[in-house]
């Protein structure tokens, strides 16, 4: 199969699926290996920019998904009655920050960083699908671990968890604490 044909099939599948399609799945369907897929996808993603920019494709976690070019947000938004812009509470953003930057994190850790109880905020984030349970910590009490989801990556315009600015970005230059 030639590359152009592959590209069209990929577009068709991503469009029809409407969600992240795993790389492995695409390789299965197209009968190609992941290296070949990467080449095709790179070309497809790049070509999207100048000639076909209404609908773009991005890599999210171990898959790809189609999305609308944010440039056209103002037009697309008009299609939907509701105001599509959704924001979360400050508490939710802080909690998400702790979860996102710590990969697998217990409720106790979140509470110790923020100094407040995290129960209801965690529930909100679980409901919205931005975080999920990720097993339990092998420690006394076996507390539940939380991590962010691909839904989080999608809603926060990130490709992988590694896309986040490193947390050090947000700490002031290191001073020797309390040194005179």
């Amino acid at each position: 199969m030639n590359v152009n044909e592959l590209k069209e099939i990929i577009k068709a599948t991503l469009f029809a699926y409407g969600d992240i399609v795993a790389k492995k799945k695409l390789c299965d369907i197209l009968q190609i290996d992941e290296k070949q897929l990467r080449v095709v996808m790179a070309s497809l993603i790049e070509q999207g920019q100048p000639t076909n920019k209404g609908i773009l494709i991005k890599e999210i976690n171990d898959g790809y998904q189609m999305y609308t070019n944010p440039e056209y947000y103002d037009y697309v938004r008009k299609l939907f009655e509701r105001n599509t812009s959704k924001t979360l509470s400050q508490a939710a953003y802080e909690t998400l920050a702790v979860v996102a930057y710590n990969k697998n994190v217990t409720r106790a850790k979140i509470e110790s960083v923020r100094g407040v109880s995290a129960g209801s905020t965690l529930n909100t984030l679980l409901d919205k699908g931005f975080i999920e349970e990720a097993g339990r910590l092998e420690a006394p009490g076996r507390p539940v671990l939380y991590r962010t989801t691909s839904e989080f990556l999608k809603a926060f315009d990130l490709h992988t968890p590694a896309d986040l600015f490193p947390i050090e970005t947000f700490s002031e230059e290191k001073k020797e604490v309390l040194e005179e």
Binding site: F15, A16, D19, M66, T68, Y101, K154, S171
Partner: protein, 261 residues
Amino acid sequence: MNQQLFDEYRIRLENFEGPFDLLFHLIEKNEMDIYDIKISDITDQYMEILMDMQILDLDFASEFLVMASTLLHIKSKLLLPVIQEEEEELDPREALVMQLLEYRKYKKASSYIKTQHESGNKLFYGHPSTENFGESKKVYEVSPIILKEMYKVIVGRNERKRNYRTRYMAKILRHDKFTVEKKIKFVVKILLENVTVNFHNVFKKKGTESLEVVVSFLSILELAKESKAKIKQKKVFSDIIVERTDKLKETDYQEFLDIYQ
């Protein structure tokens, strides 16, 4: 504290994400160095804000109160004369400062996360297609023929293994036993002949085995459930009146015969 500053402090605690958030606010307002917090001033101001709450919502304020006690503890430690010991004395503020720095880091990260959310909000992801992609390929390696053969096999096996034997077994077992199945037929017959009957007179005659009485009673309950009979009892342990309803038909007798015979 001057009036303007005081008004600013009259901010409701609800506006803060927690005690760390409030402490930050105070440190910034007082233009203090986070590494050298004037604990005495900060504690006084912090307490003032807490006291200013007209009604203390303990559910909400408990975390702020914990911080208040931490501040007071640090303050008292700082007031004590420092006895120089061999190992270096830790600054009592250190743990608090570490926590504040950690919190500040994530507070900043959270506004970055929020920005990301705003840009993510401008993306639309489409929906799974509702198109019909045709009959999906047969996933299971089985055909209706196999299913049919399978059924024949179990039916055959069933026949050989248990059918005839169980049929006789069932008859033998039922022979001397009272069954609801049989009894219903009997009750239906009686009710078809009489609009109402006295339970004690008809089903609980002298010499009736208690098992049979129970089975009769269950049969009546079964009929009552199907609204084919009504049960009345004036008071506990008094006689039970069983009354047939319009729903009980001649055909019921035949039907029960068919099913249970």
